[in-house]
């Protein structure tokens, strides 16, 4: 008999998290990416409220997250991950390792387009990239299915005849963010009972049974390992059916490997995947009233491929319109339709298949469009229509140009009148005057979409004041990038490049080296001076730390500038390694069972100090002369000696939950309470450039915390321990700097 259930209005992501919380996974390793991030956020919120005890590990990137999950699964517990798009691709290398060494776990893939041009909306280019990794893939088309499949998934994956990792996929935004009426199990215990206990056959922590996981295996053995997996895929079809049947008894909801609506007698069938199916069903109801025989078929399982069931449900149709939300650029179609065509060919069927690539990058499917696609199918019965094409593209008007821009900045417009000179091995900077500097044209242009009072552009602009001449910027993914380049607009008046935020430093290294090589070869003027600046958020300095350190080790002539707003703000305020201890974020909630972030903030300048690059600094808009001076030095060092790294603290009123107008005051307070010391490391010598005590501006640590909603709880006596630990650590770090600052050789 079905277990007791209650109705709720929830989104796919909330429901994936609820299911995970009810199952109470041992470990979740994750890295935030829209639109899947909310799963970790809700799970963390439920954890803070004491609803689960999932050990949540914020990774340094999806590659790291997949590694954490792989490690955890070898240790024999239940493991969860969630990702999308570029995150999935960044993790992809880990996926076949996990499947072919046969450790089950559950990965939610909330589907999204894969950049470049960066698009965060739904299509299926990410999920189709992992068809060949040996993971099981089940696809939920609405929030109810997301919940149900998340309960079903571990049971399939852990089944003794399967032992494979599994992906639960669903459409970004349409399914992940749409809140619908759903039915969920009232008692966590029922869910736990359904999933049952998991006992791994082999674990990496069973000291009595030592084993070697991941051996070096070439021919002739490797192919046999793969053949095993291919056979298990076959077997998994039966297991999935079995578990679906069991779930029907448990819930009252029935699922099939392949589903159909009105397909039985249909002349034209649409074959599709995901959230569009419901829209298509609505179109069918309308068309059937007009007497048109139309239907839709959609798979719930795409790995293994239920080819018999697909064939059985579509075989009677005269025309099948296969809708791909992704393309394989093979002039045949995306993976969904290419595989459909292969299935029909294998079965000797002769149905006509028309492929349309649609809905890329979040383009919606409307009811009238679904009807148009059916009409296309009817047309194809007697006439010839293109087998493969796109649906929903815009031709554009050739006469239309991009929105008009501004004239490029000349050398003169970018002058700042600042003088920099090397005196006795130290740089001296003269002639900084804020009033005079207003004459320098700005390299950033208004019209960007940052939040009210966002500190990114005031901070970056202040830094830019210290640079004279031509500048090329490279931005990592993050708020600064997203809000300044919404196509067809740009807020950059100078050349700007975006690249994946795990790879920007490497990319800029490549640009700099090409520029230098072209100069060496005389292909561009030798006296053309360009200063190269890479801009990253603190999050980009987490996932991109490897290439940043690599760039510093190679000592390229460029500046790496981190604006630190203490979190992954673009994706909705998840903790970064730079988020300070105890601060509340969407993945470090404050509740009965948890009080904000669990570990101290990362000291990126000191990590960079270990690379021994010529110049390192910290700064903020609250001390503009100090920052501009450092920028001028940074330019000199980047152009003459090598890599520079700088960190500027940048207010995020939205997620700090602070008043927009207080941004400058709050970043000043962070320095005055010794949390964010202003200093520089010039050719290895550390100097505090501002000492709050000497400036008679020293404030209490608490005075800074009370200015932001995200830290108010730390003042509460019940959180005294965390407060004291944070204080102790910042004072320790400050004292250490001060001692170095006073020592002539440190």
């Amino acid at each position: 008999m079905a277990r007791e259930q209650v109705y709720m209005v929830e989104s796919g992501n909330e429901l994936a998290a609820l299911a995970a919380s009810q199952i109470n996974y041992h470990v979740m390793g994750y890295f935030p990416i829209t639109p899947s991030t909310q799963i970790a956020e809700y799970l963390d919120e439920l954890k803070a409220d004491g609803k689960n005890t999932v050990n949540m590990i914020p990774a340094d990137g999806e590659h790291g997250a997949a590694g954490i999950c792989y490690g955890a699964s070898t240790a024999g517990g239940r493991v969860l991950n969630a990702t999308s798009a570029n995150g999935l691709l960044y993790a992809i290398e880990q996926l076949p390792v996990q499947s072919h060494t046969r450790f089950p776990m559950v990965l939610n893939v909330v589907t999204r387009s894969v950049s470049g041009p960066l698009d965060i909306k739904c299509d299926h280019s990410d999920i189709m990239m992992v068809l060949n990794t040996g993971w099981l893939i089940i696809f939920a088309k609405n929030p109810q299915e997301v919940y149900d499949f998340n309960i079903i998934a571990p049971k399939i994956a852990e089944h003794k005849d399967v032992r494979l990792p599994i992906i639960v996929a669903y459409d970004g935004f349409f399914t992940s963010h749409q809140k619908k009426k759903v039915s969920v199990f009232k008692n966590d215990k029922d869910v736990k009972d359904f999933v049952g206990p998991f006992k791994a056959d082999y674990t990496s922590i069973d000291v009595n049974n030592p084993l070697s996981i991941g051996c070096y295996m070439n021919e002739p053995d490797y192919i046999n390992n793969h053949y095993q997996l291919a056979k298990v895929m076959e077997k998994a079809k039966d297991v999935i059916k079995e578990v679906f049947d069991e779930f029907e008894k448990f819930s009252g909801r029935k699922y099939n490997l392949v589903n159909s609506y009105m397909a039985e007698d249909a002349d034209v069938i649409i074959y599709a995947l995901g959230s569009s199916v419901d829209t298509i069903i609505t179109a069918i109801d309308d068309l059937r009233k007009e007497g048109k025989k139309v239907g839709v078929v959609w798979p719930s399982v795409i790995r293994p491929l239920p080819k018999d069931q697909i064939y059985e449900t579509v075989k009677k149709a005269k025309v099948i319109v296969a809708l791909d939300r992704q393309d394989s650029y093979n002039d045949i179609g995306g993976n969904l339709s290419t595989e459909l065509k292969a299935v029909l060919q294998e079965k000797g069927a002769t149905n006509k298949v028309i492929t349309r690539v649609y809905g890329l990058g979040g383009r919606e499917l409307y009811i009238d469009e679904a009807k148009e696609l059916f009409d296309l199918g009817f047309k194809a019965i007697n006439e010839s229509v293109k087998n493969y094409d796109y649906y929903g593209v815009v031709t554009g008007n050739k006469e239309t140009k991009l929105p008009i821009g501004l004239k490029p900045l000349t050398l003169e417009m970018q002058d700042n009148g600042i003088e920099v000179e090397m005196v006795n091995g130290k740089l001296e900077v003269k002639n900084i005057n804020l009033r005079k500097l207003t004459k320098q044209a700005k390299r950033f242009v208004p019209g960007h979409g940052a939040c009210i009072g966002c500190g990114i552009f005031s901070g970056l602009n202040t830094f830019m004041r210290g640079l004279k001449g031509y500048v090329v910027v490279l931005f990592h993914t993050g708020c600064g990038m997203v809000v300044s380049t919404g196509y067809p607009y740009t807020s950059h008046r100078i050349t700007y490049v975006h690249n994946l935020f795990q790879n920007g430093a490497a990319t800029l290294s490549g640009i700099v080296e090409m520029y230098k090589e072209k100069q060496r070869r005389g292909e561009i003027p030798k006296d053309l001076d360009i200063t190269f600046v890479m801009v990253t958020g603190d999050g980009g300095a987490d996932i991109g730390m490897g290439p940043i350190v690599g760039t510093a080790n190679r000592n390229h002539n460029l500046i790496i500038l981190e604006y630190d707003n203490e979190g992954y703000m673009n994706t909705g305020n998840q903790l970064s390694y730079s988020t300070p201890l105890g601060h509340a974020t969407s993945t470090s909630h404050v509740g009965e069972a948890q009080k904000g972030k669990r570990f101290h903030h990362k000291d990126t300048p000191q990590i960079m100090a270990g690379t021994h690059i010529p110049y390192i600094f910290t700064g903020s808009e609250a001390f503009p002369i100090d920052l501009i001076k450092k920028a001028a030095k940074a330019q000199w060092y980047a152009n003459n000696m090598g890599t520079v790294y700088g960190k500027i603290l940048s207010a995020c009123p939205l997620n700090w939950r602070s008043e927009p107008k207080l941004g400058t005051k709050i970043v000043k307070a962070a320095t005055d309470c010794n949390f964010f010391p202003l200093y520089e490391i010039e050719q290895g010598i550390t100097t505090l450039t501002y000492d709050p005590e000497k400036a008679k501006s020293k404030i209490n640590f608490e005075d800074w915390l009370t200015m932001m909603g995200k830290t108010k709880h730390l003042i509460d006596p019940e959180n005294k321990e965390i407060l004291e630990a944070a204080k102790k650590e910042i004072e320790r770090r400050f004292r250490r700097l001060k001692i170095m600052s006073e020592h002539p050789e440190l």
């Binding site: 821009g405 208004p446 940052a450 809000v483």
Partner: protein
Amino acid sequence: MLPITNQYGLFEVRFESIGGLGANIAGKMLAEAGLKYLNLNVASFSSYGSEKTGTPIKTFVRFSDPEVPIKINSPVENPHLLVIFHENLINALPVTLGCNENTIIIVNTKKSPSEIQDMLKIPTATIGTVDAIGISLEEKVKFNGILLGAISKAIGFIKPEHIKGIFEDIIGKKYPAVLEANFRAIERGYNEVKIEKVKEKKEYSFKPFAKPSNLIGYENQIIGGLVVNPGNSFSKDLSASRNGLIPVFNSQKCTSCGMCDIVCPDLCMVFIEENGQMIMKGIDYQYCKGCLKCVQICPVKALTEGVEAEYDVKSMTVKLFTEKDTAQNHR
């Protein structure tokens, strides 16, 4: 139970809003009220790329009777209820697309329904106006409670008690003061909204719903998605991002120290060279989001806080860019 539905049995709602005003959560609350108290089928979602404050978002809510499933996942084309969360959106976006004479339109404004009709340029409709900005400043709450109160009055089937119940579920007993303030906001929205079936005006016409279209397509998109016109975001108008307050500049007091230029996140300050000296001339309000960081930093109070409605912002604006600064790249 639903006063009116379309051919799919749905009562459809569209909110036109700006990130940070609470439209997304208001949509969820409205849907939850329908499920919890009336056992309706419900769905709600928002169309936003990022959740930055100040950027336009649309939220959609659908209701149907319990036995009618909601299958459509695309945006609401012909809303039965349209809620405009900020009056400034009316001139910035085509908010009324797909409306007809049966649409109920609620607007956050001090203006009257017939003044709003002229701004919206629609022949007729039932228009409700409520000064949510004023109420929110007084009660220190977000707009959502106030607007949900007004919505409840306009559509009837969701009662103010239902909305209060959902607020109680969400805010809980943890913050009784916040809950009380929101209860007052709901009541004030309900009581203070002015709803009127406005007189028909023949000079206006309804505009049908149009899918987002674009003049830049595959024929004329520059390859690789490049933008070759530097700084072209200068043509955008961000004034709809402001929440009612503006910085007011007094040149008499200004020493042109340059501090406001450092802290302004939206790069709005206009400095011009006169006789070899840089002089602060004023603000380009086209870009000002009203954060008031400049007011905080100004050492001589040459910048002060003002209520936007009391000023003629247009005439106070000093332009940052003129035609001579612009260029079209013809590559």
